[in-house]
């Protein structure tokens, strides 16, 4: 058994080492994240030590431990490929029994930055509530228990979901996890602000629940010992031990099932039948011919392709949050409403990269600049179907919140001009600086193409601002001139027409380039 444990731990270390050996960038990222994690943990440790003796120290310690536990529980769902020893199906061909394997895998789980980080934080939590020799002794046990519960929790969750995580739907889920984390961070921020204003006393009722919930119950036991209530402490420790046993038992069970039953994902699903499915209404609403065909596919991809969806949701959210939140806080300007148009216009960039190597299907169907123009126009129109109403809505909403109705026409005009400029430069950079977007993982640029991506997006955005300059200048001029207020309404049609003309020009410039360099674009977007 010890032989197996040391083998698996060594396997984990080799995987870690070989992963780092692959590239300097990965090594740098590893070192950087290690340093950041350790610094953060050290600061947290100091902060928790400073809390010693504070009336609500136990509440903070319990909450901290609970959050750590939660983190360990959800981590494997979002980063399934992070730890290859997590996937027991890789070991399925080896003659191993589940019981020793569980011990070995648990030991291997303790290797890495994550466990070290957790250990430091838990140590801080324990130290902040431990008073007296008995409490310190309990603390050592609690520390080990809490850490093991965290790690076992992660393993149990991962193993229970391994079929999901290695399936297509699971990987789709992982791509969207960035969004969940961003929203979660927003919520944590919100909670922290409330705490800051209302004081730590708010945590007391939460702490009363958490002190009985593993892994926080282990830290709760230390607190109980410090207060002299040994009976409570024993119960809390036993609860943690029971949780650990339960988790390990459940994990061993699903491990056995996984390793002895066939992979259900390769078994042919019951034939869904040849039932006729009514064609979606989408197709009928769109124009016929190439334009409608391209629009339909683009719109379907926004919904069905996780990468595209994530990019769109981010753009939609930021485009709304920046102007509206600023308006809510009273620091807003109505001109922030242009953010919506700007953020959504970014989606026009690297159009062909979004296709990945499936671009060959497009390439074989483009034989002239006219085809390329129809292709680009279809994509721009698909974008406008969503962007135009959305940018208008955000602008009207921001205006309503600020009550600045007189400026609505000019801001709308600016938004439309900006959108047109983004579409035009987006189309052109799509043809000129294509780069591939890897479909797996969180990266949005293939290795070696980061420079290209920067040129494409930032160069394009600067160009868009320049293209937009006449309308911006006109807006400023109308605003500063003496009787300009009477003419601001004119900026709406001017901006809209300018945006449309610029878009048309951009597409016409991009089309011949696209048609001429199809093989080069295909090569660029097929990397990674």
């Amino acid at each position: 058994m010890t032989g197996l444990t040391s083998t698996v731990v060594r396997l984990k270390l080799s995987l870690l080492r070989n992963g780092l050996r692959q590239s300097g960038g990965r090594r740098a990222a590893f070192v950087a994240s290690a340093v950041v994690a350790l610094l953060f943990a050290a600061l947290q440790l100091l902060g928790l030590l400073a809390l010693r003796g504070h009336a609500h120290a136990d509440a903070v310690a319990l909450l901290g431990t609970a959050v750590l536990g939660l983190g360990w529980a959800v981590m494997p769902l979002f980063f399934p490929s992070g730890d290859e020893t997590l996937d027991p199906t890789r070991l399925v061909m080896l003659p191993l029994r589940p019981r020793p394997l569980v011990g070995a895998l648990l030991a291997a789980s303790l290797v890495g930055i994550g466990p070290l980080f957790t250990l430091l934080l838990l140590a801080g939590c324990v130290l902040s509530v431990a008073h007296g020799a008995a409490a310190y002794v309990t603390g050592v046990v609690a520390l080990a228990l809490a850490l093991l519960v965290c790690v076992a929790l992660a393993r149990a969750v991962a193993t229970a979901n391994v079929r999901l995580l290695t399936s297509r739907k699971g990987r789709d889920l992982a791509v969207l996890s960035g969004l969940v984390i961003a929203v979660g961070a927003q919520l944590v921020n919100f909670g922290a602000q409330r705490l800051g204003s209302a004081g730590l006393g708010q945590l007391a009722p939460v702490a009363d629940v958490l002190r009985w919930l593993p892994p926080a119950s282990a830290v709760g036991a230390v607190h109980s010992v410090s207060e002299g209530s040994y009976g409570t402490a024993t119960a809390q420790l036993l609860l943690s031990v029971a949780a650990l046993a339960l988790l390990v038992g459940g994990w061993a069970g699903s491990l056995t099932r996984l390793m002895t039953y066939p992979d259900g994902s390769t078994v042919q699903a019951a034939d869904p039948g040849t039932r006729e499915r009514p064609s979606s209404g989408l197709g009928r609403l769109l124009p016929t011919g190439r334009t409608g065909t391209v629009m339909e596919r683009s719109l379907r991809y926004i919904w069905r392709d996780p990468k595209t969806k994530a990019a769109w949701v981010t753009s939609l959210a930021i485009g709304l949050i920046v102007p509206v939140f600023n308006a809510l806080q009273g620091t807003g300007s109505i001109y922030f409403a242009c953010f919506a148009a700007g953020m959504l216009g970014i989606q026009m960039y690297n159009q062909f990269g979004q296709d990945t190597s499936a671009f060959w299907l497009v390439a074989t169907a483009i034989s002239s600049p006219r085809d390329a123009y129809a292709e680009l126009r279809g994509r721009a129109l698909a974008l406008l179907v969503i962007t135009l109403p959305y940018a208008t809505l955000v602008t009207v909403l921001t205006t309503a919140m600020l009550g600045d109705w007189a400026r609505l026409p000019e801001v709308l005009g600016l938004s439309f001009a900006l959108l047109g400029a983004m579409l035009a430069t987006g189309a052109w950079t799509s043809a000129r600086f294509p780069y591939s977007i890897p479909q797996e993982g969180h990266k949005n640029v293939a290795p070696g193409q980061a420079g290209l991506a920067w040129i494409s997006i930032f160069g394009g955005m600067v160009a868009a601002a320049l293209v937009c300059a006449p309308v911006i200048a006109l807006t400023i001029w109308v605003n500063v001139s003496a009787d300009g207020d009477a003419w601001t309404w004119l900026l709406l049609p001017v901006g809209a027409v300018y945006g449309a003309v610029v878009t048309g020009t951009g597409l016409r410039l991009a089309a011949p380039r696209t048609a001429r360099y199809l093989p080069e674009i295909l090569t660029a977007v097929s990397k990674g």
Partner: protein, 265 residues
């Protein structure tokens, strides 16, 4: 003389002096090739011989460093309008639009090529039926198996009824049932006078399917001609092929004398 002239005019594909380098590595080193029209043509060679690179350049998906390619008399790079309407392609290692269902993918490809919608839907229904994909037509292609992907790719390549069909490893990773279906469709297609060019390294398959073969190794053409011509004195194409690519006489097993059943050590 007259025979040569007939071949010249009837060539489905004419390649002259084709070169492609990737950095230091020469993938295709000066290929001249005339592929006769109306034949089932096999492009065979070991892994890394340059089959995929050659097919990519012939179909306009990769720009050659040098050389010219004509498909049914039209230059691939100077007259793409005429060529792209006449060829169907199934590349290897490139994705499809996998977030579409099989039926949606065919609808997309057909309409993108300018076919009328009703005609596309009719052809798609028939192709899905023949290729045994009707049951999975509403499933996303991303959830298809390898064989199903090859079949839906073949359907997309056939949809616009091309004159010449280029297939890169169409049988790689395909189960025998799907392979038989693909085979049947391709045989029916060539019987009507169309040309199929496909690459493979499975000699038995090439031998049973093709009437014309080009052997490629290390970026060069080693032999071309009818099956009988290329096979020569060898009983099988496999034997002729191994000799052509210079892989005869390597006995890899001599050092593996411990390998065998019985002892578990």
């Amino acid at each position: 003389m007259t025979d040569a002239a007939v071949v010249e005019t009837a060539a489905a594909v004419r390649v002259r002096g084709l070169w492609k380098r990737f950095g230091q590595q020469v993938a295709v080193a000066g290929i001249d090739l005339d592929l006769p029209a109306g034949k089932f043509i096999g492009l065979v060679g070991p892994n890394g011989a340059g089959k995929t690179t050659t097919l990519s350049m012939v179909t306009g998906l990769l720009r050659p460093d040098q050389g010219s390619v004509e498909v049914v008399g039209h230059d691939v790079w100077r007259d793409p309008v005429a060529v792209k309407a006449r060829i169907g392609v199934l590349p290897e290692g490139l994705r499809l639009f996998e977030r579409l269902s099989g039926r949606e993918l065919l609808g997309y490809c057909g309409r993108l090529r300018g076919l009328p919608g009703a005609e596309v839907d009719k052809r798609a229904t028939q192709l899905l039926e023949v290729l045994d994909l009707a049951g999975a037509q509403h499933k996303l292609v991303v959830d298809y198996s390898t064989g199903m992907r090859k079949k839906i790719g073949l359907a997309a390549a056939l949809l616009h009824n091309p004159e010449v069909l280029f297939l890169d490893e169409p049988f790689e990773g395909v189960d025998p049932v799907s392979a038989q279906i693909i085979r049947g469709v391709l045989e029916r297609y060539t019987a009507s006078g169309a040309t199929v060019v496909f690459s493979s390294h499975v000699m038995e398959l090439v031998e049973s399917l093709c009437d014309w073969v080009a052997v490629l190794a290390a970026g060069r053409i080693r032999a071309t001609g009818t099956l009988a011509e290329v096979r020569g004195d060898h009983p099988t194409l496999q034997g002729a092929f191994l000799e052509l690519v210079g892989a005869r006489g390597r006995d890899a097993a001599s050092n593996l004398d411990w390998l065998g059943g019985g002892a578990a050590r």
